[in-house]
Symmetry: C2
Subunit: 259 residues, 2 copies
Amino acid sequence: MISLYKVGGNVVDNPEALERFCEEFAALEGPRVLVHGGGVRASQVQQALGQEPVKIEGRRVTDAATLEVVTMVYAGWCNKDIVARLQHHGCNAIGLAGCDGGAVTARRRPPKTLSDGVTVVDFGYVGDVTPASVNREFILRLLDAGLVPVFSAINHDGAGQLLNTNADTMAAAICVALGAKLFYCFEKNGVLCDRNDETSVIPTLDPAAYQRLKDEGRVADGMIPKLDNAFRALRDGASGVVIRNAARLLESGGTELKL
Amino acid sequence: MISLYKVGGNVVDNPEALERFCEEFAALEGPRVLVHGGGVRASQVQQALGQEPVKIEGRRVTDAATLEVVTMVYAGWCNKDIVARLQHHGCNAIGLAGCDGGAVTARRRPPKTLSDGVTVVDFGYVGDVTPASVNREFILRLLDAGLVPVFSAINHDGAGQLLNTNADTMAAAICVALGAKLFYCFEKNGVLCDRNDETSVIPTLDPAAYQRLKDEGRVADGMIPKLDNAFRALRDGASGVVIRNAARLLESGGTELKL
């Protein structure tokens, strides 16, 4: 069974949290893939370069200058920093963007109507991926060779254009293509019944219970697209989905999704 | 016979020249590796971030902030831009830094006495590589799988630290480790007898003729370390060294070194 871990910017951009995550990830066993974010640092570099980060409904509008920054930060600094740390801890990691080896091809997102039903936004150099756009054989060959692929969410369209992709959806697409088990790792212990109480982790969550949590306002804004995405991955063929703390990879725990 | 191409910042940082290079590189046949620079863009990004690039005897002094920039620019933007272009032209490229798959390990350069014999400089996070620090088996496995490795000159020390490496010496080290033929590609047609006349290419150059060119002042400052490095690679086991125009890969020509 292949495990696919997704870790977000709140961990990647915090050197202590990242080091702990890498040490634990390296100590895991079995074939595994890591997909990482890095959005906090990307916004900092944009601002240092005098660019104003623009996000609409949580997604970064990516003009040419922004594409260069996110490629530098995600595929460059974050990716190689993670790989060097994993190598140090004895994990034979190989850092990749979707273009490398033709691993993942994305489709540039057409202008999109927002949830208000009126505003149409062109997100620029943003690419969407599906399980069908993942080069499963290439990733399996790397795993067979004992390598641990570490992906940034920078992809290409196959016609020479790099595209910025949401790391959660990229993780889900690779996971479904591989029939892997998905571990969404972040700074909380799982889906919480009371979001101010880290001990209130809900051990299993099905769509009906998720709907109740939403109705009661117990899941926060950022968790909703993450959970929607996670349930979709489970329906589409992921062999399991767990949401857990990035600092506790070696323990059991977290929230397991069920259909 | 494996071919190893090195292309520098003057080509990588010029979109038209880079596109032409990638189109021709993709049309080449046989197992091949690319090592690229990107120093012009790195200096621009440093300046845009309010850092002042410091170079001593042609080498960039690399503090922590500079290391982040060169990793972002070389291993991030330049590397993925090149890979996406090569993929578009049908070449199954895979972009790598030395840390990826443990491909190349570097040794942090100790403080160094300059050519004045007095000044001692700590270059910071700068790493030196030798043919022995190249993971030959890993690179051969990629080539056997039909992949074309594309390396930025960012390496690691195996203890979690990334290190900035000179791309010419990294190319030479990989070339010697593989027993490959080295092609140094740049914006001129080869080593010129008259540096203002692009038709005055010297077809073959041996150490005695090189010494005469230096004595007569015909080779310029930047060419001397490049040629010293190239002759060293040839002595150490490269199966050939050619210096040629990055825009004319598919033609014969350029300067071939002989011992």
